[in-house]
Symmetry: C2
Subunit: 369 residues, 2 copies
């Protein structure tokens, strides 16, 4: 086949999946996996790169196709490249189901791409099957090719999905010496506005926020996801209270019709209650896909000790408070070797970010699979 | 005056002192001030930039002159520029005394520079006077011009010098939850090798390291500054023990002839003892210029509470230890408003650095002058 040479947007990489995996890391963790996609031309040049930005946003393949179409609309040489001579490289097998977005298998067929390479198989019935449908339609499908960086993107997500539970994010807002409040309980505000803005972005991703009865009594939180000017967003997480005490009279959360109170200190009891809840959950679906554990210290400690935390956001302010209310309590650690060690999470802007004067640690469990 | 146009190494900045101040921030804080210098040509083009790298290293002016001479040796157009038509811009008044390096006033005269502009006066008798000598020798001297970024470089250093005490650095090595050891006292190692390497760089800068008797009993430290392969450096800080208890029999520090034991919990008593010590101190001089406070928690708390800490290095590992030995204890903080709030220190690589999996916070006191 002889075609006009396109003007490559990026030089041809040794392995397009490397580029796709790097793009995937720009996404956010949660209910959906991190996925990246690259469309290459007949000569291997990269024509478009896409990634998934989280629940509700287009899948990586759709994002790459949108960019590819935009590039073709602006560049005559690109537009002349036969789609059938192009390849979609994707870190995870394209899906074949309709959720908040259409199936990627159909989107790839619609675009007329001739070949698909994917790194990691998507084994579940509902989500998988994209490769088979594509192959039946005559697309040259290669995969799973195996690609360490691609597999690493979804290791923890697949672990959580296989366990049949939601992705769990823990939120710590603390002083440099690990305190979530001073000795008298004052805590507003330890962290600065940039940290709090990120925390609201995370609230907006989740189906439910879990806090303890002690936090309700001490802080009377609303637990709503708010925008930059403090207005409630349209989609709101469900507030979940964990603990045996009643809500104080007049608590802000008492008005919430969707409030769930689990009268237990055991995170597994919370998971069971939420799994039995009929839904629909705020972001759709009959099961919660993403929980945020905001505290207090014993609630965070219980989820951490149970090995049920999939990522930690620790907002740390350059402040020394001395002995107050620690951000985490009740960990079963007696000696250094028993400490809960975490790994830097490279997704979503890198493992360490400065937010105003604060530092945000984004942490992943150390390998336990 | 008509001269051949030099080939500028950098375009002419609006304010050369901005460039000098930015260069100064690459230096390290301690006994000496952060200083930056820029040499500009007759057309304002920047010909050389220099900065001071810490005690024992050339002053900023000397560093800039070395780079200027090297550039002239390599570039005929630069070599043809009359030094008398060039200006030295420096963030702090050039010194006029001989310490570990010669007086900058003489170095500038030797180089034949025609003009000097400085931002901030150096008020002490011993160190100052450079401007006057330069003016007497016929150099066109302008200053102090006032320049906020230049003044900010030395605000804290001048405060410490005026107080007649050494610069004090506090070292915290801790878990994410602020613990310096687990409940059973185990602490080796909470932080990783990159953090420990930086901590040894800091030890190498100081005249003395202060630890409490509890730290000696728990860790039996040697307190030596060691290189990347663990070998002791030639110049070693003096070990200082603070506290009333005797050293345990067989403690590693008991062999050190230079050991100073101050039988008090009061940092002012330590400062008084060190000020009365005849010296010479490891880096020269009859007074210690730089102290490092390494712990334990009550020693750090006492120095912090006394307002005697000029910078904090907090090495924080992504590890949760639960209640153990906090890195800092005994702070007189009962409520959030009493918390000791710190500011990011932009010098020496920026306020937040990743060192392996750890994060190094470099913190400055919030303004109290």
């Amino acid at each position: 086949m002889s075609l006009p040479q396109p003007c490559p947007t990026t030089p041809s990489p040794a392995e397009p999946l490397d580029l796709a995996a790097a793009a995937a890391l720009e996404g956010v963790r949660g209910a959906n996996p991190l996925v990246g996609a690259v469309i290459s031309g007949p000569d291997g040049a990269v024509l478009a790169v896409g990634h998934h930005r989280g629940r509700g946003a287009p899948h990586a393949e759709a994002d790459a196709l949108t960019r590819w179409r935009a590039a073709r609309a602006q560049d005559r040489a690109l537009a002349a490249v036969d789609p059938a001579a192009c390849t979609m490289h994707v870190t995870l097998e394209p899906c074949d189901h309709t959720g908040t977005t259409g199936p990627c298998s159909l989107a790839i067929l619609d675009a007329g791409l001739g070949a698909v390479r994917y790194a990691v198989a998507d084994a579940t019935g509902a989500e998988g099957g994209g490769a088979a449908r594509l192959a039946r339609a005559g697309v040259r499908v290669t995969g799973p090719t195996g690609h360490a960086a691609s597999a690493a993107l979804t290791d923890r997500w697949r672990h959580v999905r296989d366990a049949g539970r939601p992705w769990v994010t823990a939120h710590l807002a603390q002083s440099l010496d690990g305190q979530a409040a001073a000795a008298d309980g004052t805590s507003r505000w330890i962290t600065g506005p940039a940290s709090r803005a990120h925390a609201h972005e995370v609230r907006a991703r989740v189906d439910a926020i879990v806090v303890g009865t002690g936090t309700v009594a001490a802080d009377d939180p609303r637990l709503t996801a708010r925008d930059a000017v403090g207005a409630d967003l349209t989609v709101q997480p469900v507030p979940v209270i964990q603990g045996r005490r009643d809500l104080p009279a007049g608590a802000a959360l008492a008005d919430r019709a969707d409030l769930i109170h689990v009268r237990s200190h055991d995170p597994h009891a919370v998971l069971a209650t939420l799994a039995a809840h009929p839904g629909p959950w705020p972001h759709g679906g009959s099961r919660p896909g993403h929980l945020l554990i905001e505290g207090g210290p014993h609630v965070l400690g219980a989820w951490l000790a149970a090995g049920l935390v999939d990522e930690v956001f620790a907002y740390t302010a350059p402040l020394l408070l001395g002995p107050g209310l620690p951000a985490v309590a009740g960990l079963p650690v007696g000696t250094l070797a028993e400490g809960l060690r975490w790994a830097p999470d490279p997704s979503e802007g890198g493992p360490v970010r400065t937010l105003g004067d604060d530092v945000l640690f984004h942490l992943a469990p150390t390998a336990k699979d």
